[in-house]
Symmetry: C2
Subunit: 191 residues, 2 copies
């Protein structure tokens, strides 16, 4: 009888980075710094696309789970950084919804604005807020497709009780995208 199983695992270097990382993340800037560091290493070690993400608990200021893009290395178009962070955080919390949005202490911090898929995923995760580094136009500039997104997605998320904070460390986060492009990184659009 066939078994249908998928295993997604972050590269070993993520654990090493976290061993030397702060134990507390009291500011949005500190959280973004970790996430951009994850995106930078992912490019450097050639383990995936130029994106990092993480979920933090903004009441305890602790990291709940990290994520990096694994599309090419895992042969999985679903394996965006935000998706990994959400899956790992829910596994750790032991629930399919991190919190009730509007009062959820869980914050998703991502090195770039979410693509169409991750924008959807954010709505199901149970996060209370979303913090973004690079803009979607920065990703488009290196040829990465963002997919069909509703025009007013920021207002749409806010209307659902999910706060959105943009342009945190945008310049540094974008620079990783350009590094990836310059190294000839695979542009893994679905067409």
């Amino acid at each position: 009888m066939q078994v249908f199983k998928v295993v997604l695992e972050l590269p070993e270097w993520v654990g090493k980075v976290l061993e030397n990382a702060p134990s507390m993340y009291p500011t949005i800037e500190a959280r973004m710094q970790l996430v951009v560091e994850l995106s930078r290493r992912n490019v450097q070690y050639e383990t995936g696309g130029p994106f990092g993400a993480a979920i933090f608990n903004v009441q305890t200021n602790q990291l709940v789970a990290p994520g990096v893009n694994l599309v090419v290395s895992a042969n999985c178009s679903i394996a965006h950084a935000e998706v990994l962070a959400i899956m790992l955080a829910q596994q750790r919390v032991g629930h399919w919804m991190l919190g009730s949005s509007g009062m959820s202490p869980y914050q998703l911090v991502t090195s770039a604005e979410p693509c169409a898929m991750c924008l959807g995923a954010v709505q199901w995760a149970g996060v209370g807020s979303l913090v973004c580094g690079a803009r979607e136009e920065d990703a488009r500039r290196i040829g990465l497709d963002e997919g069909l997104k509703p025009t007013h997605w920021v207002e749409g998320l806010q209307g659902r009780g999910i706060g959105v904070i943009q342009d945190i460390g945008r310049e540094e986060a974008s620079s990783i995208l350009f590094q990836y492009h310059e190294r000839g990184g695979i542009i893994y659009n679905g067409r």
Copy 2:
């Protein structure tokens, strides 16, 4: 050092259903019949939400990979039926893109129209077409949130070379949604 790993596995009954299933799926209706059967069993065995999906190769008429909703059972809001089918199909094919859309022989058949997240996922998967059973309003009728979707998503997918075929077996597919609702199935919206 911490290891960050997620394992998603379809319930054992899926393999058993497939042992007794046809080896070829020459019509859209036959493909939908399998997918609706998966959604029905998922409700019956209480292994997840009322949704099934599968990817077929329309050149060989063979099943490539099945998927069912595992949100509640796997504690994972990402684990929609379409996502599982895409991940399993890409693992089987050994590539992060099933085919180049427009000429891809891979077809995603789903028992209900995709939510916002799965609509995004469809664009990255490398499928040439999408076949849907129930309409999104059928899912909304039992209280399931579909998320922020662009108004003209069907035309949007078509403009990207992904054909969309709606209302195949809609009545039967919708009846599974209502069965789930009547049994008091968990409505796992992210808020």
